[in-house]
Subunit: 398 residues, 2 copies
């Protein structure tokens, strides 16, 4: 995907000292013009300081945002009043450097919970970044927000009407429905009323970041921010055809970022699309898809390329949704092959086991489960659970 | 624990052909006298044939049970009407051999979902077991219901008033709150009215089998059965002091079996007790304890002996229960050492990291989380998530 820089935005990422060696660990996004902004945040009851801080700012209907500062290394969660003061001080430093008020700056943090922000590193980073921001710094910024990610995640759409949406994200583990330890910042040069921006972000997140599962954990820091500075001159009027175009473009960016997170899931060797159809309604389909995606037994079977369809039906059965086992149907689907029909009317067909294993050994494929009850459907993306996941998370801090 | 044989029961386990080589794979429990019986079953919507069969029998208030037949190798789940017919035929064979009606026989199955029962093996097994059952066969029966278990699980209590309760269980993975891929059959020679038996079993399961987590999956076959034949002559009258004694003994047997399942959890290297206190009520405490016990990130940190208390607070935060992060307190507790206070008022103390790691490297310890809100409390037992878990479940069928 080509990275287009939305007009009037500058961005950079660099090493300031949160991470060892020369790894980038702090990023800054600056808009030359005041932005409308919207955010979607973790629903975890334990919220990190930057989440509480951003939520308070975005609760103001007339909030004008000029910058987002993001660090890795410390999540600044469970750090109490001191942590909130550190977040405020970070925003104030950015504001002083770029010439705005602290309440025009949003913050993102990720990393180990409970570790205070190293404010000397922040000060060093903010000073340097304020000079470095430029229109081609997206890759550096995306690299700077990585934790256990193995590669930066960027998505960008330029719409024919003239606006651009470009976003970066990080996340590799602690990824559950309703977001996870993921951060994303998205910039657009469209001119979007705040109410439209908030509505469209919520809608886009619902079908993208809220549809991915790596390990089922949900972090204290999850945040998706979108900033709209209007520099392209394209206005997205409430309810207009342009809103539909903006919605589609934003959803495309969010979906690309969300899928990139799953593809880079901690230890993941497979990217699996779960389609649940035939449910009583969409929300029932979503609940079942998420339960399947979260099951350790399903995920280890994916890892082992074991067409153990019983585990999938079993996970569907404990999602808390009524279903009729005798109506269940299940397929394995890969792009280049006919679908393999594993289960019909709730019990196994005489499918070709070796073909099923061969399909599951590929890096990307899909599972389709039909409940035979109605028209509800949902799609969720997930990965397998591997030895490498255990290695990564068994010794994260050492 | 000494194994006492309840009077009037005979039991055996042997190899009939479900498993390779000479591994025991079928067990039979017979009572010389008709028993009152009660069962607690999986809440999975996809229920195996033996679950549906047993539930129908035990729905009869005057059910009289003479035997339980249990097999491993096939779960007889997702096998449709043919599976139910196989379960009925199994019961009928047992009934013919021991001289009762098919509706006096309960059934248990565990193993791969979707695989039909090999009825020739069943026939062979039932014929031999009917001759072999004896009063010292508990160990063989416990071995015969093992799947990925590494050791048989038996618990036995003889009460001073003269009754005995002895049970066996199996389960090692797919172990979640609200049971999991676990089976248990418990026999007592007390004389217990059916209503008392059902109530006491439900209560005992709630604080034992429903408080264990290995991987958070819940199977199609989970069943705990208790049979009471009255052969000891000790009567447990409804509401009597004897009922309290019976309740305590039954809870002791169930708790010992449940803990044995966690200790033998697939790939488990650590047995961890989670105590949540200070919750608004017990059910809130239970929800939080279960969420912590199910978190892949918490469980991998346990595996790595990493005192990553942030993951524990984080998991508590997404249990769907209101809490005040600033009131959270967390301790690591081992029998032979002072507790290590990791978190006070929601953020970390200056605890000794090396002492915390040393404590977590031990095979058994506890985590205590206090919410600082009320008097609700709950205890859950869990294990870590290891490389070996992934190995076991990545290639279960191969």
């Amino acid at each position: 995907m080509t990275v287009h820089s939305p007009e009037g935005f500058r961005v950079a990422g660099m090493h300031c000292g949160f991470k060892p060696a020369e790894k980038k660990d702090i990023a800054l996004l600056v808009s030359d013009y005041p932005c409308r902004a919207a955010g979607v945040f973790t629903t975890n009851r334990v919220k990190a300081a930057p989440v509480l801080y951003d939520q308070a700012i975005l609760a103001q209907p007339d909030a004008e945002i000029r910058a987002v500062i993001a660090n890795t290394g410390s999540a600044n969660a469970c750090t109490g009043d001191a942590g909130l003061a550190d977040t405020r001080a970070t925003a104030a430093q950015v504001a002083a450097r770029i010439g705005c008020q602290p309440e025009n700056v949003l913050t993102l943090s990720t990393g180990v919970i409970g570790l205070p922000l190293a404010m000397d590193a922040v000060t060093r980073g903010v000073a340097a970044l304020a000079d470095q921001v430029n229109t081609v710094g997206w890759q550096d910024a995306a690299a700077a927000i990585m934790t256990t990610d193995t590669r930066p995640k960027i998505a960008s759409v330029r719409h024919e009407s003239g606006f651009t949406i470009t976003g970066i994200a990080k996340g590799a583990g602690m990824i559950a429905p309703n977001m996870a330890t993921m951060l994303s910042m998205i910039a657009t040069d469209a001119d979007v009323p705040q109410s439209v921006l908030a509505r469209e972000l919520t809608a886009a997140v619902e079908v993208s970041f809220n549809r991915i599962v790596v390990d089922g954990d949900m972090s204290t820091n999850d945040t998706v921010l979108v900033l709209a500075n209007g520099a392209s001159g394209v206005t997205i009027a409430d309810g207009s055809a342009q809103e539909a175009a903006f919605s589609a473009a934003l959803t495309k960016v969010c979906t690309a970022l969300a899928q990139a997170i799953v593809r880079d899931g901690e230890g993941a060797t497979k990217f699996v699309t779960l389609d649940v159809t035939g449910a009583a309604d969409d929300s029932a389909a979503r609940a079942i898809a998420r339960q399947i995606a979260t099951s350790a037994l399903v995920k280890t079977a994916f890892y082992g390329a074991d067409p153990n369809w019983g585990r999938i039906l079993c996970a569907a059965g404990y999602a808390g949704i009524d279903l009729d086992p005798a109506r269940l149907a299940l397929w394995l689907v890969a792009d280049d092959k006919p679908a393999i029909h594993l289960v019909a009317d709730g019990h196994p067909t005489d499918y070709d086991e070796r073909a099923a294993i061969a399909l599951m050994q590929k890096p990307e494929w899909a599972v389709r489960l039909d409940l035979g009850l109605g028209n509800g459907a949902a799609r969720v993306w997930t990965c397998d659970l591997s030895h490498e996941y255990v290695t990564i998370n068994g010794h994260y801090r050492t």
